[in-house]
């Protein structure tokens, strides 16, 4: 048996250590914040308790410092990676801007050598990136000024802007090894850093298309204004004459009335011309709206033939309609009406009395074929190439109908092509003409535009 005091001491130790158990439970979970109840000064266990307490405090303090450090480090790391992302994003953005700016761009260094070039620059110049980088554009690119004079390297905008320290904007001609000469618009700007020229940025673009459009536009405007001036002159002259003869009793009422009649007809013709010119400008500028729906072309053809029943009867023309069983197509009914109006009106105009006009629509492979045939004067062979040209009128057409404006077939062709179809004709002088139009069953695509076309019997 063990002596009592030993037994008691054992119990004491057990009790003292048991007090520590919950604290160690906390420690096990990583919590060092628990504090011990320190025994009184005479307690044998006091130094042990103090020691454990001190250990807990030290660990907790150091753990706190470690956590601080850790969170600081984490913050730093996060900051660094977001910076990195930012830089990367900036790079991607720069590249996207460079490649998508739609213009060719070249950056040169202090010596005038290419540092950066985008793919448009490569496309326009015909030089690869490898061929461009590190080269002097003033030596590499052969330019001509607007007068056709070869530009020396010193006259080259890229070099000139860096030499003179100012922006140089010019239109000149680029000599491409394959394409030959074409006009470009070029702007070179020097790059300054703390007052020093560090290089230059040159932006240029191919303006061949713009030039062609501009030229076509101004030609059209001058032609259109001339075309308008003719009926205006006729109205002026006719009304001047009417004013002159108005009070003259020797001149019959019939003659005076005929003046008014001519003024009226010419004015009608001019209104038609104005709508046609507006239509052509919408087509040429690409602002024409196309609003396709399911339509039966035979219904449209029928309604146009009905509208034109008066001129058909006046000439006693035989009208043959040849419409097979037809599916509907997806097409803009207003535009298709204009096609029928022009083709049928022309057929009526250029067919002599008692002639025959045939309007047929048949169902072919994936498309509808429209045929408008007449037994009229036919088209001279030499005019075949000009049939769809703006303002073109054949000699016979002028003689038969001096009031036509020569825009109708141009408009028809534009509409048919918009529908993805084709137009052509067969003709024999003195015998007649057949116009053929195909409209794919898939039909027209919806194109939001400014407005549709105005109907006119051009």
């Amino acid at each position: 048996m063990e002596p009592d005091h030993l037994h008691n001491y054992k119990h004491l130790v057990k009790r003292k250590l048991a007090k520590l158990a919950p604290i160690f439970e906390h420690v096990k979970l990583g919590d060092f914040s628990s504090r011990l109840e320190i025994p009184k000064a005479d307690d044998d266990f006091r130094p042990f308790y103090v020691g454990v307490q001190a250990m807990l405090e030290v660990i907790q303090k150091q753990l706190g410092e470690l956590e601080d450090l850790n969170s600081k480090l984490r913050q730093k790391a996060e900051g660094a990676s977001s910076k990195l992302l930012e830089v990367e994003f900036q790079n991607v953005q720069d590249e996207a801007i460079l490649e998508n700016i739609g213009e060719a761009l070249i950056v040169t260094d202090q010596r005038g050598l290419v540092l950066i070039c985008n793919h448009q620059a490569q496309e326009i110049t015909g030089f690869s990136q490898q061929q461009l980088l590190g080269q002097d554009p003033a030596l590499l690119f052969s330019l001509e000024d607007e007068q056709g004079q070869q530009m020396s390297p010193d006259q080259h905008p890229v070099r000139l802007s860096v030499q003179q320290g100012k922006k140089i904007a010019e239109i000149c001609y680029f000599k491409h090894s394959v394409r030959g000469l074409f006009p470009i618009s070029i702007i070179s700007t020097p790059l300054f850093l703390e007052g020093q020229i560090m290089g230059g940025v040159t932006v240029f673009r191919d303006i061949a298309q713009e030039r062609a459009v501009d030229k076509a536009k101004s030609e059209f405007v001058s032609l259109a204004s001339h075309q308008l001036r003719t009926p205006l002159t006729a109205i002026k002259w006719e009304s001047a004459r009417l004013l002159e003869i108005w009070d003259n009793p020797a001149i019959t009422m019939e003659e005076k009335k005929s003046c008014v009649q001519k003024i009226y007809v010419t004015n009608e013709r001019m209104m038609d011309l104005v709508s046609s010119i507006l239509n052509v400008s919408k087509i040429d500028l690409g602002t024409l709206a196309v609003e396709p729906v399911h339509v039966h072309l035979e219904d449209l053809a029928d309604s146009v033939l009905n509208e034109l029943v008066q001129p058909i009867q006046e000439k006693s023309l035989h009208v043959k309609k040849e419409f097979g069983p037809l599916p509907s197509v997806v097409a803009d009914p207003q535009l298709m009406r204009i096609v029928f109006q022009n083709l049928i009106t022309n057929a009526i105009k250029y067919t002599p009395a008692q002639g025959t006009l045939t309007c047929g629509i048949s169902f072919g492979k994936n498309e509808l074929l429209i045929t408008v045939s007449d037994t009229g004067c036919g088209i001279p062979k030499e005019d075949y190439g000009k049939m769809f040209t703006k303002f073109f009128r054949s000699q016979d057409a002028r003689t038969i109908d001096p009031n036509g404006n020569g825009l109708g077939m141009y408009i028809v062709k534009a509409i048919v092509e918009e529908a993805g179809g084709k137009i052509w004709f067969e003709s024999e002088e003195g015998k007649g003409t057949s116009f053929y139009v195909t409209i794919p069953l898939a039909g027209m695509k919806n194109i939001p535009g400014i407005k549709g076309l105005t109907e006119s019997y051009a």
């Binding site: 001058s222 001339h226 001036r229 003719t230 205006l232 002159t233 006729a234 002026k236 002259w237 006719e238 001047a240 004459r241 002159e244 001519k262 010419t266 009128r393 054949s394 000699q395 002028r398 003689t399 001096p402």
Partner: protein
């Protein structure tokens, strides 16, 4: 006085029927003998066939235009002395210059004139009262 008794012959080359009609009537009423043509080719044929005092020539016409007709006339000794007035609605300097270079005697812009003044102007050119 002798000019008054002598009927002057004018050739009008114009493809616009309505304008041609007005001019024909106006010049006929003013005592002219009027010959008309609808393009340059017809105009040349008429110029050779008739003894003309003066002609009015449009520029934009089918087949042979006014400039073509002027050029052809200049090379024909029988025709190059007939005064030809270019009468058109084109009023750009290039066309005017080209007309004068091709030997046009005068250049008139249609829409600037009315038929009566047009006749008066032609009379003036022919020293008619």
């Amino acid at each position: 006085m002798e000019n008054l008794t002598q009927v002057k012959k004018i050739l009008i080359v114009e493809d616009e029927v309505m304008l041609l009609d007005v001019m024909r009537d106006e010049f006929t009423n003013a005592g002219f003998s009027v010959v008309t043509a609808k393009d340059g080719n017809e105009g040349l044929v008429c110029a050779k066939k008739h003894t003309l005092d003066i002609m009015l020539v449009d520029v934009l016409m089918p087949n042979m235009d006014g400039m073509g007709m002027l050029k052809a006339m200049r090379q024909d000794p029988a025709l190059h002395k007939i005064p030809a007035i270019v009468l058109t609605n084109l009023n750009d300097t290039k066309t005017i210059q080209s007309a004068l270079e091709n030997g046009a005697y005068d250049y008139m812009v249609k829409s600037d004139w009315n038929p009566k003044d047009l006749v008066a102007h032609v009379k003036e050119k022919l020293n008619l009262p």
